[in-house]
Symmetry: C2
Subunit: 136 residues, 2 copies
């Protein structure tokens, strides 16, 4: 199984360690195409080098080839929203993980989308349980 | 012409006055389906009442019926990213307006998408010129 994991880059890297933990867990189920999202060295600028056009087209190729999309949506990110929108329009299975405990407000476009499985959680263990159920 | 205007709601309302000015200008070209985005009374919670599911499905109906999508993408917003992603995947014409002068970082998914017309601007007058060219 090919898994497309989405998390914030330029929207802010405060959840990067959590992304890495989720990605490590996802590897039990298949190949994580976007493993770099969890890299603490990945800068806000998105990787230090490639153009936006390169990043976009590479990520869209991965998204198209992915069997499922799993997004951590707590940190507000235009790119994560874009990826989810494209995935939903492609008819892919999408799991969004959100932590209400942070006080962040989830977009109605994510919270209200019938094509998305939304799970609110607070601990990594809860996220793992949700992922296991989603990928079962 | 039916115009879908996208701007941040729960991602933050600091550009709400600008959204209103852009929407007022867009009315010279056609019907703006999402006129409420510029309403200064619109709260962060997204309108005070309707459920996320209602908001999502109403906005998606508007998006599908829109001839063009015009988004102000300076304030980072998951919902705006989602709307752009769905519109690009639908093959719609999308204009994104971004103000680099704010110091905000634009997502590579927006800056690098070949299906988006991206215009960087600083003044409302520049935005109007870009809109005029795009809708011409």
């Amino acid at each position: 199984m090919k898994i497309y994991f989405a998390g914030s880059i330029r929207g802010g890297r405060k959840d990067a360690v959590l992304y890495q933990q989720i990605i490590d867990y996802l590897k039990n189920f298949g190949e994580v195409l976007t493993e770099h999202i969890g890299d603490p060295e990945l800068s806000h600028s998105g990787g230090g080098g490639p153009t936006d056009g390169f990043i976009h087209n590479r990520d869209m190729e991965w998204l198209i080839s992915g069997d499922v999309v799993i997004a951590e949506v707590t940190t507000v990110s235009m790119g994560v929203g874009y990826e989810i929108g494209r995935a939903v329009e492609m008819g892919k299975n999408v799991l969004c993980l959100f932590r209400p405990v942070t006080g962040e407000k989830l977009s109605a476009m994510i919270g209200g989308c019938p094509g998305i499985t939304l799970v609110e959680y607070s601990s990594l263990e809860d996220a793992k349980i949700a992922i296991g159920k989603f990928l079962d």
